[in-house]
């Protein structure tokens, strides 16, 4: 059993109901969560120490949140179409999901520009630096997700459509990660608004 992701799966006696790759992905997500937990607790600890500038999040951050939610929905619809045998829907929604993903990063970037123009610079008060650092690290994870979607989209258009278990697993793995970074941003945004 070799998955197309290049990851060799050995046979052995497989005792779990969930696919080992999905399981491994969930485990990795736990460590990404710890990374952001580290950053957000540093944020809280530093804020409690005073000398802390409060400001409003740029509007772009809210729009980007909406965009990435739409992107998640598109990806979900794409996979649903894939399962139902609708090749056109599968391709269309895949492309839409990817475009929304790219738009998300663009919006984050313009959000940083807005912040900077408003006097909140990277190297100013640590409160601003934290917002850049946290949203920046998150954006890096989204870029990783876009790369995955890019591969998915390329395959959707180049590989002849066929419903196989293996391809479904691949799509689901991509979707799990994508929904994860989506929810992560909602949490981070909420966290930063709540803390300011």
């Amino acid at each position: 059993m070799e998955s197309t992701s290049g990851i060799k799966l050995t046979n052995s006696y497989n005792r779990s109901k969930i696919h080992p790759h999905k399981f491994a992905l969930y485990v990795s997500m736990a460590s990404i969560i710890m990374m952001f937990a580290g950053l957000t607790s540093a944020f809280v600890v530093r804020r409690a120490a005073g000398n802390w500038l409060e400001f409003y999040m740029p509007q772009e951050f809210y729009i980007s949140a909406a965009v990435i939610v739409v992107s998640s929905i598109c990806l979900h619809l794409s996979i649903r179409s894939f399962k139902r045998g609708s090749e056109a829907g599968y391709r269309l929604f895949m492309i839409l999901a990817m475009i929304c993903g790219i738009a998300f990063v663009g919006l984050q970037y313009s959000g940083w520009l807005t912040l900077d123009a408003g006097g909140i610079s990277v190297d100013g008060n640590p409160s601003g630096s934290f917002v850049y650092a946290i949203s920046g690290l998150h954006a890096a994870h989204v870029v990783g997700g876009i790369a995955v979607l890019l591969v998915c989209a390329l395959r959707a258009f180049t590989v002849p459509y066929k419903r196989t278990e293996r391809r479904l697993i691949r799509l689901e793995l991509s979707a799990i990660y994508w929904h994860f970074v989506d929810i992560l941003w909602l949490y981070l945004l909420f966290f930063m608004i709540w803390q300011m």
Binding site: F23, V27, S31, M34, V122, D123
Partner: protein
């Protein structure tokens, strides 16, 4: 004494008859694994080869790290001696003045820093848990390989990349990082703070980031494999303690290393983007720098949130190996198996809520310190449970005093000695005197450094037959053991006294402190002991490599009479580990001396007249 019975069974026949057929050998994909030299020995995806890669890379690092300690011990033991003879090795870091060579103080700090980083991360994390998790998780669980052999291979190569970068940093003009293995700002945050804070620190950070990636890739794999690929009958409560230890270690690593990555991420912002996460108003070389509002203590929190779990990431695998070796060579079931597992879990949990005991003297609120004192002292409870159980396992056993067993017993000795001093340090009031002194050095070298090495040695001597199909020389092994045991106590025992007297760690010289003059001879003694112990380790390395080619051959597949599954594979197991079916497990791993039988391996079915089965 009653006669010792030996179960009669033929492993191949048993596995053929009662084993589980996973259709593994119908795929013929073994060819992809071992078709040429490159994919057999270099970019291998076979967990047994990857284990050896981790081990040998770790050994090279151990030699480098230990050699560094000998050099800085020379400085501490013989501060005014002529070090010009080291010039061919250290080059410009030996400054010669009037024919008298002296070690450059900046380089002294670089040596101390690199020694710590190398031993903690490269040797005792990658070299120890990387080696044995890889070797034993699939073998002892009855799996063909890791859940993802490819990620497993990546894990090694990220470690290799990290190693290359760290090694390269030793040779750059400004020297490697010199701010201590804990990398506290401002020395790590301001490139201009010291000579090692520039390129050296950058390389140190980059190297450790790749290291974190390696640990995470490895950990994801270990956890997934343990939870998903155990063979039929291998319930969690039948797993050998080695596997429990590796499994929990991987979980701790997965939850704590990402926080180190966050700390490095913010540190990199401070270093290159001018942010002030960890920096406040500061003057360097007369220049007032433009930082405000940051806190170096924030870094300490993030660092020790990893740092303390990290010490258990190092010691848990050594504990697992020790438990297994003690039980096999005492020919007795491990005492209190469930208690052992529960204490591993308790230690793991507690290890996340004690980090601030490293910061009692950093200016944290004393009331908060109290909470950390309590949690810290509670860790002594599960630790003591483990110690009692090891001793009870030995009690009344048919002990074979061979090299692995000696090292396992040595582990217990070291863990007790070092654990006791932990209880001193865990009291924040006593820590006022002891913090940052040689007492701390003595504490953690004995409890973590030496003990973990002992666990690793026990593992190497014990599983060497599985790794290379030969035995290591046991005379050399015993010299290695006694030399290391006596030597290590000779080095670290006296440091408790110097530490109690207040001698601070990380000092280049003590000549301006009259009070410490009395320790000059003691320091010489320690340095001589350190040099001897280093020599004994070289002996070990020679024994290791010599035995790969010339050691006594293993003739039976289960030379120790052990119960775990790795000894049911062919002596030189190929890809997939078992030739035919997978063995099926019928019992726990510790049926030694049961119903009069010397040992009953895990894959032997339960007979009707057997007493309680675990």
């Amino acid at each position: 004494m009653a006669e010792v019975l030996v179960k009669k069974y033929d492993t191949d026949e048993l596995i053929e008859k009662t084993g589980y057929d996973d259709h593994f050998h119908e795929h013929h994909d073994g060819d992809k694994y071992r078709s040429n030299f490159i994919n057999t020995y270099i970019f291998s995806m076979d967990h047994k080869i990857i284990a050896r890669q981790f081990l040998i890379t770790g050994m090279i690092w151990a030699l480098i790290g230990a050699a560094m300690s000998v050099i800085f011990r020379l400085q501490l033991g013989f501060p005014d001696s002529n070090m010009a003879w080291l010039k061919p090795l250290l080059g410009k870091w030996i400054t010669v003045d009037n024919g008298v060579g002296a070690l450059d103080p900046n380089f002294y700090y670089a040596l101390v820093t690199m020694h710590g980083t190398i031993i903690v991360f490269m040797v005792l994390t990658a070299g120890l848990s990387g080696t044995f998790s890889n070797l034993l998780i699939p073998l002892q669980l009855g799996a063909r390989d890791m859940a993802s052999p490819f990620l497993n291979m990546l894990s090694y190569w990220f470690f290799f990349l990290s190693s290359v970068i760290m090694f390269y940093s030793l040779f750059i003009a400004t020297g490697p990082f010199s701010g201590g293995w804990t990398g506290y700002p401002p020395l790590s945050a301001l490139p201009q703070a010291s000579s090692g804070s520039g390129a050296g620190a950058t390389l140190w950070i980059v190297s450790l980031v790749f290291f974190v990636v390696s640990v995470l890739l490895g950990g994801v794999n270990y956890i997934t494999t343990v939870l998903n690929l155990r063979t039929k009958g291998m319930s969690l409560w039948r797993m050998p303690l080695t596997i429990w230890a590796f499994f929990v270690t991987a979980i701790i690593g997965l939850l704590s290393f990402p926080v180190l990555a966050s700390a490095f991420f913010l540190l990199t912002f401070d270093r290159s983007l001018g942010t002030s996460f960890f920096l406040n108003e500061i003057v360097v070389k007369g220049e007032i720098l433009d930082y405000a509002g940051g806190s170096p203590i924030l870094f300490q929190h993030l660092f020790w949130f990893l740092g303390h779990p990290e010490v258990y990431i190092i010691i848990l695998p050594a504990m697992g190996l020790t438990s297994e070796v003690l039980s096999v060579h005492a020919r007795k079931p491990i005492f209190g198996y469930k208690a052992m597992v529960l204490s591993i879990l308790a230690i793991a949990f507690l290890s996340f809520i004690v980090w601030a005991h490293h910061m009692f003297m950093s200016g944290v609120n004393p009331f908060i310190s109290n909470i950390f004192v309590i949690f810290t002292l509670i860790i002594a409870v599960p630790s003591a449970v483990k110690v009692f159980n090891w001793i009870t396992t030995l009690y009344g056993g048919n002990i074979r005093l061979n090299t692995p067993m000696l090292f396992a017993i040595g582990f217990v000795s070291m863990f007790i000695s070092g654990g006791l001093t932990g209880i001193f340090l865990g009291n924040s009031a006593i820590d006022i005197q002891l913090h940052d002194t040689y007492f701390v050095i003595a504490h953690f070298h004995i409890v973590m450094g030496v003990a973990a090495f002992f666990g690793m040695f026990a593992g190497i001597y014990h599983w060497y037959p599985k790794m290379y199909g030969r035995f290591m020389n046991s005379t050399l092994g015993k010299i290695h053991f006694w030399g290391t045991l006596i030597g290590a106590y000779a080095i670290f025992w006296p440091m408790h006294y110097t530490g109690l007297a207040g001698v601070p760690r990380r000092y280049y010289k003590f000549d301006v402190f009259d009070a410490f003059g009395q320790f000059a001879e003691l320091n010489m003694f320690i340095t001589i002991a350190a040099a001897i112990v280093f020599g004994v380790q070289v002996l070990f390395v020679i024994n290791f490599f010599y035995s790969i080619w010339y050691g006594k051959k293993v003739k039976t597949r289960n030379p120790w009479g052990a119960n775990t599954l790795e000894w049911t594979t062919p002596i030189n197991a190929g890809h997939g580990n078992w030739d035919g079916n997978l063995p099926v497990v019928h019992r726990w791993a510790y049926d030694y001396g049961k119903d009069g039988y010397d040992f009953i391996p895990q894959h032997v079915p339960v007979s009707e007249d057997e007493s309680v089965v675990h």
